[in-house]
């Protein structure tokens, strides 16, 4: 048996989902789209039930990617029950999707979520009356605390049935629906003819393709006729009638205060006002950054220490048993990959993802998006681009994946390019802090960030101008600021870390083994000599640095350690002047993406774009390095 969860965005749908299903969750992209949906299993009285979490949508009309995926999934999977998750505090607008689900003939159960907030605001819902009007079971739930979930599951399995509730449209539309229904045959359609007729009238493409010519022509004629007579598209009237009905029902079951204006939170207001919002944003970003650098660094020390203590000795024994240098190199590569994962994933990626989930679930990120939308437009991007950029400070791999949330390929490509070139990931940050920050002072480290910021703006502007524009406007609901549920944050973090590991770990493993084998054969060291001249002349850096650059491709986070090994000391100041360090850090910050980021780019954007971006980043890094060498050498 299958249950699908449907609902508007921000109603706590995924919280209900995670309460129902627990850990074994699969996230997948709907074929041919970048829209993600989740699937899990729930246990009920000895049987296993599949639960599908549909993307959050406002309607089933299929006008956005999310809507199309939700409707396609409903259509293909034919779930036995559809749970409509409603935000009880905003019953009116939430009822509209419920109407559409009932109209399409699904067995619907309503989950009146966020019931506690409703109570807290001193209002109540007459649940029995709502059930009587809509003829569907309605269960009050508080997903964040797990209340009402058992009862919701029980009802979905046992008490489902088809509702006879109908939205009354205006008489002209009802007349058209009647005429169209008479032209259709029920056995051709998986949903009631009323729904089919309405979709014909609203011009739903999938229904138009399936219906026979006569009905399509009749519906088109009716639409035109309606437009001529009423001066407005029929869609406007259908939606108006739905919202009108929803308003009446909400008033009936909640009372006059159905959608009374909430008191606006003081903080909420501050985050949206540029004068205060931008300082708050800077403070938040600084906090995220500091936590990453300090807490992440401390955690890394502990973990790597423990790993070395526990695994080094047994591993060395194992290595000693191997015959060839190459095999030993490969084994060392495996050892180091695990170490790198420990050093990178848990301290930086996990910590970063937890913070990101907190920022998302409190509703803060949406505010940042709105605040920066205007400015981002000048870079050819939307406010939404802020999120992948912030993610990019952790690691470029998930950041490139996160660009999927952008409207068009053009925006995605601009954003991914900006991220790989101008947003330093945690490994690049470690290099900047470890060299310039340590030896030349914080001011110089800051200078690198300012240069990167300038590159971001200039590059964004330039790309915006050169790549063809396909505008899509921002249009989002801003949820109330709320305290996030730890349960949800952990779940999100878990899913994201899992995705990251499946992509990055195999690449890291291959990269490490290849590097160690190169080292074992002494190939890397041989590169130092021939490149000495070039490095010295152009960048003013010793030839050894070329190894760090190659490491930068395969294992960015190891580049610094490698340099220390090659210099034979951890005090870099003995071999590099502060100026050289600045040049080195700058080059490393802009230099081409690591192998994992490269692979993700390839997967998402194809060979040509990836090659251009890679070549561009190498060229830009060298040019900046040469420039910095020139200027600092004066």
């Amino acid at each position: 048996m299958e249950i699908a969860l449907a609902g508007n965005p921000n109603v706590g749908k995924s919280a209900i989902f995670s309460r129902l299903t627990g850990v074994g969750v699969i996230s997948s992209n709907y074929p041919g789209t970048t829209v993600e949906f989740f699937e899990g299993k729930a246990k009920f009285m000895g049987s296993t039930i599949t639960v599908i979490d549909l993307p959050g949508t406002y309607s089933l009309a299929g006008n956005t990617d999310d809507e199309r995926v939700a409707t396609n999934l409903l259509f293909e999977r034919r779930p036995d029950t559809v749970v409509a998750v409603l935000d009880t505090t905003r019953l009116e607008r939430n009822l509209v999707l419920l109407f559409e689900l009932i109209e399409s003939g699904y067995h619907v159960v309503a989950s009146l979520n966020m019931y506690d907030e409703m109570r807290r605001s001193g209002r109540d819902v007459d649940v029995a009356r709502l059930e009587r009007i809509l003829m569907v079971p309605a269960i009050p739930t508080v997903a964040t605390k797990g209340e009402g979930i058992d009862s919701l599951l029980f009802t979905s399995v046992q008490l489902r049935g088809r509702s006879k509730f109908k939205v009354r449209y205006d008489s002209h539309i009802e007349e058209m629906v009647r005429k169209l229904s008479a032209m259709l045959k029920q056995e051709d359609w998986p949903m009631p003819l009323r729904a089919v007729s309405l979709r014909l009238l609203t011009g739903d493409r999938r229904v138009l393709e399936k219906a026979d010519g006569a009905a399509v022509r009749a519906s088109e004629r009716m639409r035109e006729e309606f437009l001529k007579e009423h001066g407005e598209d029929i869609v406007v009237h259908i939606e108006r009638d739905r919202f009108g009905e929803a308003g009446r029902i909400a008033t009936e079951v909640v009372g006059e205060a159905a959608d009374r204006e909430r008191k606006e939170g003081f903080i909420s207001d501050l985050t949206l006002r540029p004068a205060t919002g931008i300082p708050i944003l800077i403070a938040v970003l600084a906090a995220v950054f500091l936590v990453l650098v300090f807490a992440g660094g401390a955690l890394e020390g502990v973990l790597v220490g423990a790993y070395t203590d526990a695994a080094r000795a047994p591993f060395d024994d194992f290595k000693a048993g191997l015959s060839s240098d190459l095999a030993r190199g490969a084994a060392e590569g495996v050892y180091l990959s695990v170490e790198a994962m420990l050093a990178l994933v848990i301290p930086y990626i996990v910590v970063f993802y937890i913070m990101l989930a907190v920022l998302e679930d409190t509703g803060y990120l949406v505010r940042v998006v709105s605040l920066l939308d205007g400015v981002m437009h000048r870079l050819g991007l939307h406010g939404r681009a802020v999120i992948p950029m912030v993610v990019g400070f952790g690691c470029n791999v998930p950041a490139i994946l996160a660009t999927r949330a952008m409207g068009s390929r053009r925006e995605r490509l601009i954003l991914a390019t900006l991220i790989t070139i101008a947003v330093p990931c945690s490994a690049q940050t470690a290099i900047i802090i470890g060299t310039v920050g340590n030896y030349a002072g914080a001011v110089w480290a800051l200078a690198i960030y300012i240069i990167l910021g300038a590159i971001l703006v200039i590059l964004g502007f330039a790309m915006h101008r050169t790549i063809k524009f396909e505008p899509t406007g921002l249009f989002v609901e801003i949820p109330d600021l709320r305290v996030p549920s730890p349960h949800e944050i952990l779940r999100k973090t878990y899913l994201r870390v899992k995705e990251f590991l499946t992509i990055a770990f195999p690449l890291l493993l291959v990269g490490s083994i290849a590097l160690e084998m190169l080292m074992a054969e002494g190939i890397l060291q041989q590169l130092i000599g021939p490149s000495e001249g070039f490095m010295m002349a152009v960048l003013g850096l010793p030839g050894v640095v070329v190894v760090a650059l190659i490491f930068g491709i395969l294992r960015k986070e190891m580049a610094l350690q490698m340099l220390m090994v090659l210099f034979g000391t951890s005090n870099l100041a003995l071999h590099l002047s502060p100026e050289q360090m600045f040049t080195f850090a700058l080059v490393m910050a802009v230099f081409m993406p690591c192998l994992a980021a490269f692979a993700v780019m390839l997967k998402e954007f194809g060979v040509r774009s990836t090659a251009v971006v890679t070549a561009g980043s190498i060229g830009l890094a060298m040019a900046l390095g040469a420039l910095s060498n020139l200027l600092l050498g004066l």
Binding site: E232, E261, H377, L474, F475, I478
Partner: protein, 221 residues
């Protein structure tokens, strides 16, 4: 841009073909008080520009492109006649002649206001139909003063009057968010630097880009 004289011709052809049929050169010449030869010459010109379809010995009909202009000019003409008749009390040939001259300089904006002022008349003083305007808005909506959501200030409250989106998907997206005619919207904030407009609607805050806001026509509360 069509010249005044071309507009005049198109209007005359419209008058003659309103009830079907074709406009004969001789009839056009009579209505315009010019020689048939000049009419033929003008017809060729208009036909080359794609405004009329001209058949030798039969006469002319309007192409869709020409019809659009002709309807608009005729609409202005008949509205003006109504205006001169009803409000200025001018009768006889003078009324027609004045309207003939004014119709070419009347802006669309003024035409709309005139239509409202005269309470949406359907016929001219001669009893001929005034062509409907092509704005695609119901007349009841047009009579109210509407402003786009973008033009409301922070803190202003308005009611959605109609949606002027050409893009079907955008229209549906706006509707699904709850911006249906009759719903009350309050502008909470207009984020500077070209940022979005933040409004509250049915208890929810929504941020929408300005270009979307332009499609929403509001009646101030």
């Amino acid at each position: 841009m069509v010249t005044e004289i071309a507009e005049q011709y198109l209007k005359v052809i419209y008058n003659l073909t309103e009830d079907g049929g074709v406009a004969k050169t001789s009839d056009v010449a009579k209505a315009m008080s010019v020689a048939p030869a000049s009419v033929t010459e003008m017809m060729h010109k208009l036909s080359r520009q794609g405004y009329v379809r001209h058949e030798r010995y039969r006469g002319a009909t309007l192409s869709p492109k020409g019809l659009k202009i002709a309807r608009q000019v005729t609409r202005k003409h008949r509205l003006l006649e109504r205006f001169l008749n009803d409000l200025c009390g001018i009768r006889g040939k003078s009324r027609h002649d004045q309207a003939c001259r004014m119709e070419h300089v009347l802006t669309d904006e003024a035409e709309r206001q005139l239509c409202r002022m005269l309470n949406r008349p359907s016929e001219c003083p001669h009893g001929k139909q005034i062509p409907k305007c092509e704005r695609g808005i119901a007349c009841e909506k047009c009579t109210k003063e509407t402003v786009s959501l973008v033009d409301l200030g922070e803190g202003d409250v308005g009611t959605v009057s109609h949606l002027a989106s050409k893009d079907k998907e955008e229209l549906c997206r706006i509707l699904a968010m709850g911006f249906v005619p009759g719903s009350e919207v309050k502008v909470e904030k207009k984020v500077p630097m070209g940022g979005p407009i933040i409004v509250s609607l049915k208890g929810t805050k929504i941020a929408l880009a300005r270009e979307i806001g332009r499609a929403l026509h509001m009646v101030r509360a």
